[in-house]
Amino acid sequence: MSQTDYGQHEVGATSPRKTLILLAVFALAGVIFAGVSSYDFIAHLDRQVHAITCSIVPGIGPKDISGESGCHTVLMSPYSSVLRDLTWGGIPIALPALGVFAFLLFRAVDLLLRKRMTRAETGFMVAATALPVLTSIVYGIVSATQIGTFCKVCVGIYASSLGVFVAAIAAHILTSPPKEKSKSGILGQWGFYFVEGLAMVALPVLFYLTFKPAYTDSLLHTSGLRHPEDKYGVMLDMHGKGQVPAVEVLDPLCPACKGFSERLAASGLGEQLQIKVVLFPLDKECNWMVSESLHAGACAVSEAVLCAGDRASKVLAWAFANQDDLRARGGGGQSAVYARIKQEFPDLASCLGQPAVRARVNKGLRWIVANSLPVLTPQLFVRNQKLPDEDTDLGLDYVLSRVLAQGAGEVRR
């Protein structure tokens, strides 16, 4: 495409060159942050647990292996990818971001290599860089209001987005206006760049969908519960909207259980389930199956959930919302957790710590022993078919929708 047709100008004293270099640097930073984020997401397609990068300077500092960082929370949140019910894990948001930043880097370097540039070109850069800024604003709000935490790598993407936008505006301002305007020419040029950009965004997504591991139905062949009956009276009926019977085994202070609960709610599939909860506190205070408390204080909180009766879901929601605080208190002993629960729910004071409720917690653990379940949380059984443990996070929407479809005799191929 000829540049001379619609008013190009030599780069003069007020050269936008420096701002273009700055734009290229921010775009490169965006490529790195989005690449790291995409890499971490894609690594989980093998259905295993992986350490993830959670540093504002990727490559510096240890990776998060505990799963307690904001990056892990965001990665496992329902907002890290889209179209989750169509493909296992969905399409990570970071992937199109990678394409966008790669395109911006390409455009910036392309402009830098030329001796001349037009305001049409810099104007397009302003428009193109507005996309990551708008997306960053939306995701920043989602992080703050829905997820409740920020991921450092994501913050890197937000900063890069702002950087390319400001640099693009500066470059545009510093570029001299054309003497003659050709609107159709500008639109044609923008259209060409837009197609290039679209291709750059679509390409990684296409490669991702082409090469990602296929999910076979054989992975769904898991054993069910040996003794699904509730002879100990330990199941809590808390999500009563749906019709499909399901049993969820959870620890009220387990971050993965909280994330699972949020993902299930966000997927909308939870509304089809009639979920009964069995408490499995991974806390050595009451659970002999763990030598160290994975979630200290979980036994006391489990007692509170059982004591609450009809308000069990309210107490569980409160425990999920205050997991960090309750676990920290639990590290200092049960009494600190009891005190916090009594402060929030004074009417439970007479029940907490009593032999009867402790026996109920124990009965729940015996139900788990009777069913020879693995010592981990969360676990979900739908129509007595276990949702594979590896599919309770990124693959939840896809696998659960298949399980529900199978049960309804409508297996989607």
Partner: protein, 229 residues
């Protein structure tokens, strides 16, 4: 190189860089998935506890006692009478009591009035506390005794009634559907394995009272056994 050619080369470099990265990451994940498919996950399975003191010898004796007492086999008769207990344990009373030594922290001695099978408030509280502290144990032993006053037959019957009183209290309080498979009753009367003075140091329902062998044996000894058979 003219601008158009440079533009094309840059575009190809950008496309190749992104494309190769994404395809290599996804293919690597697919390879790893293929390698792990079919392998059992390395996660512990929930099970009843099996403490260090559960030696092979102890388990053999426990199984013998539990089977003979109608617990493991689910026989119609429940509990072990003194002679049966002596036979199945195949050991002296002292050795039988020594079996329970590792359970000092888990056991409790519920004391009764002389010639009585009534459970008082302190015994009731201690019993409930002990039973609710089950943890991962599989079996609950109730070993009832009587002090030597009175006839042997009377004491055998008295210890039987004491054991039954404890079992019925637990049954009523905890409504455990597995109670018949997990509570083992032994009533020893005055004939076998009388508790000696050292058991005064164990958890008892009448800690404030005098503790002699007579008081100790007007009792039901209760304990969860953390052994898997």
């Amino acid at each position: 190189m003219n601008a158009g050619r440079a533009h094309l080369v840059l575009l190809l470099v950008a496309v190749a860089g992104v494309g190769l990265s994404v395809s290599s990451w996804t293919r690597a994940a697919a390879v790893r998935l293929g390698e792990t498919q079919g392998k059992a996950p390395e996660v512990a399975t929930a099970s009843a506890s099996d403490m260090g003191y559960c030696s092979g010898e102890l388990k053999v004796i426990l199984k013998r006692v539990l089977t003979s007492c109608g617990l493991v086999a689910g026989g119609s008769s429940r509990g072990c009478q003194p002679l049966q207990a002596r036979q199945v344990a195949s050991m002296s009373g002292g050795d039988f009591n020594a079996l329970f030594s590792p359970l000092a922290d888990r056991a409790a001695i519920l004391q009764f009035d002389k010639d009585s099978d009534q459970i008082d408030g302190a015994s009731s509280e201690l019993m409930e506390k002990t039973f609710s502290d089950r943890r991962g144990a599989s079996y609950f032993f109730v070993v009832s005794r009587a002090s030597p006053e009175g006839s042997t037959e009377h004491n055998r019957d008295l210890s039987h009634r004491r054991g039954n009183a404890v079992l019925e209290h637990i049954r009523a309080k905890f409504q455990d559907p597995d109670i018949d498979q997990e509570v083992g009753l032994l009533w020893l009367g005055e004939e076998f394995a009388q508790l000696d003075q050292q058991f005064c140091q164990w958890k008892r329902s009448r800690t404030g009272d005098a503790c002699g062998t007579a008081e100790l044996n007007r009792s039901s000894f209760i304990a969860w056994i953390d052994c898997r058979l």
